[in-house]
Symmetry: D2
Subunit: 379 residues, 4 copies
């Protein structure tokens, strides 16, 4: 690494250290007003206020409303742009990450257009550059039957809980015929009101996942057949309500990953690999521009989405780790901007990955091939 | 009872006693050549031969072929008619009682047209004049999936056993919403070939029953929805093959029942009542003409459709009881023919029963009535 | 009916009419403060206050605490006794009728001891003297599994929703093998929290019913086997929590029923019969003393346990119908007290009914009898 | 490769070519008398006769009965040994490969003791040196209920088909909580006799598979819980009959694989890789001595275990391919015997593989680790 590059990285890290208090204030302010998905109004205002008033870099290129009109999505999220060294850096706060997939809405509205590279980091229990987050589509299923007294006149009823249970059972037997890395998992959110009434309403919530978003249509069709069949068998009406947004799998960019990991190690991070498979709305972003979505340690072993983790993420101790991740991201940006040919390689890898991903379906072995070879075995 | 009537009954009983050996020969001959449903060729020929040659009453009014052309049903059954005292008595052997419902085919072909009263008796463990035999429709369901190696490539398979199990489960949950006197019961006739192959073919066989044949369409629709939904959920093809014939419930004629019971008691029968509910193709006959279908003791406690019962029905001991039942039927025929106004009463009861049966649906309490009153209760 | 008896009934009815305002006030006061089962504190105090202060008959024989110590059941219910004509009339308000069965607690505590006859009436949509309310036992079932991420590491989970669904399915297939007048019906009260977590807790609530409480042990054993088997199959822990109280079926007393119906008709009631089957904690009472539990019309078609019925039961219009039912009960009490030999007949019928009920089990046809006759049928 | 080694391989191949007719005769003779597992008497005699009479190498070291007493296993299989160049070559015919696992019986009896290397090849549709055949244990499950007339007295029945279906369903929901490379798959072998009889007997047949035999105990416990729970829920008796033999996964020996593949390529074979997962009783052998179990093309695309494959394996065309595979095995044996240090490397790899396999369980990440990291994800 050239001395110039090294110097730039130090400057960037120093800038982050100098903004430490402001950033702490920002994080704490948002942490103090937790808001539900698509309702992040205060968080939005906090972000906008702090970036506009306290960071004296440059004024935003566009007003928020131009880039992402609040009216359209009924929520408002700050999108602030600064020009630095002839490069433009966009700080993009995004809503509804945990539920709904706000980045996908933003993507659809063009918020990521014209970006060369997108970088974000997500808190976790470990430092890891890549987790194989998969494609996902969520669905809510509502069964409507007809109530009746379950002891006196059960035969007058149309049992919506029967439908929910049959759907659950159909999806259970289906699993044998799904590829091992596909997932269908769910709950019975409403399973009846009183035992003496044949339930006239039940509700299921399911997540469907495949390693490639190109298989979501297939798993969706299979699951929907189960949901509708349960209505047919029991005489219920059914609503199969797929979520507005499909989540895509992460499209890896190993060039970026390697840079991040190198920078992180220089800052003292210890990276692990993890083959677990969740999903993130950042996946869709990585299909429109090269990007990474590393997870970072915040000083606690608590699991995400627990009360302990909420406390840990608001603790002073987390600041050090969060700023460290910010630095690793910033250093990676410096690599992309100032190291010769890096951006080119990042983009070339992205182009190839897209191409491979699109070819993916055609390269899958056909059923005929597979059945032939499968019958080789003794049993 | 008038002395004249009594005398006639004695003559009839004596005639039966005198034919004892011939009848024994007849029964034994048929017993010795058990034939499958719709394949009763030897039994047919035995019946025709014996009735034509050995009973010197009168020649048959019509040849068999005129009444029931064998070509039509691909089987041949004897229908012999004799004129007695200006009355015509028809002895009608019927095929496929246990499987398929031969009497229903005969009915469709007109074999029971013009009959005033139809009498038959069925062997059993007890003497009973009436059992509430219900309406029934049978169905065979075939699922076609796609085989694949269950360990190597299960995801290439379409599991026909999943379909069979889902249908079974759907019908099971459905039972809660069926009236307590409706029945759906069945088996999994083919449930796969080898554990290491995802089954591509399975087969269910179900019987559907309701007290009135007018509800068969409803239970059929419910069951068919379950069968088809299981195909939908699993991606299988399905064949839902309802049997050619619907069995009707017995339409009671208490005038005839009372006469039979009185005659039977005079012959030493001890009658019991039985509220169990099977089905018989004689049910359909009772909807076209007044009739009874008593069950009679044959001297054994063995259960029908067991090897023990097969032996018992061929035993010499059974002859006495069988002839006794024949006498009771014949005496009942004498009552109908010679007791003033009896036939009129039988026919009037039949007409009213038909009318009530047709009104039946309209008289059923509506759903609204029922739900209202059902909600009266504490729990 | 003697003129004396008629005169007494008129006096009783007049007394009710004279207390009309007080009774309306009483009913309205309770209606305004709906309280949950076993938490009826205000209702208790209202009842005690009004009966002690406003009805100037006689002081209570015993203080409430002596008869039914509140400490025991953590709720307080008024039990007031008056001596009339050498007869003692006890007005007994009872808690937790809809949930838990307060009368059964009272019965256990001796509150019904020494009573010759017990009369109550229950609001409904119709006037009917008897509904075949059946025996019932309720159960809550809790499954405890182990949570895990449903996409990343489902194999680390122990799925409590699988257990709930398997229990539901086991109970569904069981229904085919239950007598047609037995009932098992329930809901899935908790069916998981989030689709991405293998549920570690689920809860079922079921009601079990049989026409005779003597079969509750049998149905309970069958259901419990299903609940426990689902835990076994899925590796969950299970809690099977049967309710403290078993509800008994109503033991009929036709002598009392006929008197009530006669009195009701004289007051303009139109009685219907209803063969539906709920359950009531008054059932247990009828096994300890002769009693009736008629349902009465309150001027509305609304169904019990609906918001419309809540409104209807508080409406002024309901007062007339409620007082009419009170009069019919009171007139029936007059019959019991003053008509010669009536109480004797009531008691004799009760004794016989108890005896028959106890004999019940022994008179049920044995399995052997049934199977034999069941095999009579064609199919 | 040294010229000497090359020369030896050519000699071996020539020897096979010279025995071509004898070997064809041998194969055809066995092909003509297909025999069921553990009943291979004629095949045994053919093998013994041909090896003893027609191959004039050396007499057998031991008589068959000494090595593997037929009386023990009720079948007879030839085990013939020849000493060559101070090395001993054992030709071992094995019974019951497709059903039961005869090699496992032989292994238990000591037939593979003292062997340095074990080589076999299995016909297929392709040439492939290794397929990840997994561990397997088979089970037959028999449910015994109580028959009763399904319409008249279903409540007298104990439904063995309910048990079979509940077991099937329990195993289906269980799949969500099994590792993706574990397999449970089966059929309903007997699913009832007649729809009008509550089934009193049903039978399931299942195969359980895990990549390592060390997990068979776990999957067996889970499956057995499902089988027994279904009996508990339905009131049936159950027999859970695990097969006598557990199949082990193939323990790879890449040294041997590479040699075989090199030799095969020299003979014109085109190797593919295949990640499908069946099971073979040769797996157990590879845990007692280093071995390979390649699959070889026989000139046909027909699938194993089809009538087409039976024809293809008996066709003259198959001879060339079969002899080619025999040559590749023989050449590999030459490598082992005469190439310096090869046997040493083979044995060292075997020792290490065994050690790693035994360590396997301890190296699996603990549940706690996994759950922590699994919660990192967005969803």
């Amino acid at each position: 690494m050239s001395g110039k590059l090294q110097q730039l990285k130090q400057q960037v890290c120093s800038a982050i250290d100098q903004s430490k208090d402001k950033l702490h204030q920002l994080g704490t302010a948002i942490w103090r007003c937790p808001e539900l998905a698509y309702e992040e109004r205060q968080s939005h205002d906090i972000l906008v206020r702090i970036f506009q008033n306290r960071f004296s870099l440059l004024p935003p290129r566009n007003s928020l409303e131009n880039i992402w009109p609040a009216a359209k999505l009924n929520c408002r999220t700050p999108v602030l742009d600064y020009s630095v060294f002839n490069w433009q850096v966009t700080v993009l706060g995004t809503p509804a990450e945990e539920d709904g997939g706000g980045k996908i809405d933003l993507l659809r509205e063009g918020a990521f257009e014209g970006l060369d590279v997108v970088l974000m980091a997500h808190p976790s229990q470990e430092d890891t550059t890549y987790i194989p987050d998969v494609a996902e589509h969520d669905v809510v299923v509502k069964y409507h039957g007809r109530a009746s007294h379950a002891s006196a006149y059960p035969w007058e009823g149309v049992n919506a809980l029967d439908a929910a249970v049959m759907a659950y059972s159909s999806l259970s037997v289906l699993r044998q015929q799904l590829r091992p890395d596909w997932r269908i998992h769910g709950i019975i959110k409403h399973g009846g009101v009183k035992p003496n009434i044949i339930p006239d309403y039940t509700e299921l919530e399911y997540y469907l996942r495949t390693p490639s978003h190109r298989d979501l249509a297939t798993i969706r069709a299979k699951a929907e057949a189960c949901f509708r069949a349960a209505a047919m068998a029991t005489g219920c009406e059914v609503e199969v309500l797929f979520a507005k947004n499909e989540f895509y799998e992460i499209l890896r960019n190993r060039t970026l990953e390697d840079l991040y990991e190198e920078n992180g190690k220089a800052l003292g991070m210890k990276f692990i690999t993890d083959d677990s498979s969740g999903s993130t709305d950042f996946g869709n972003v990585t299909h429109s521009a090269p990007g990474i979505h590393p997870y970072f340690y915040i000083g606690s072993d608590a699991l995400n989405h627990t009360e302990e983790y909420t406390a840990a993420s608001g603790a002073d101790e987390a600041l050090f780790f969060t700023l460290r991740a910010a630095k690793a991201l910033a250093m990676t940006a410096v690599d992309v901007l100032f190291s010769p040919s890096v951006l080119e390689r990042v983009k070339q890898e992205f182009t190839e990955a897209k191409l491979n991903e699109e070819r993916g379906l055609r390269n899958t072995p056909t059923k005929e091939d597979q059945v032939e070879s499968s019958n080789t075995h003794t049993q």
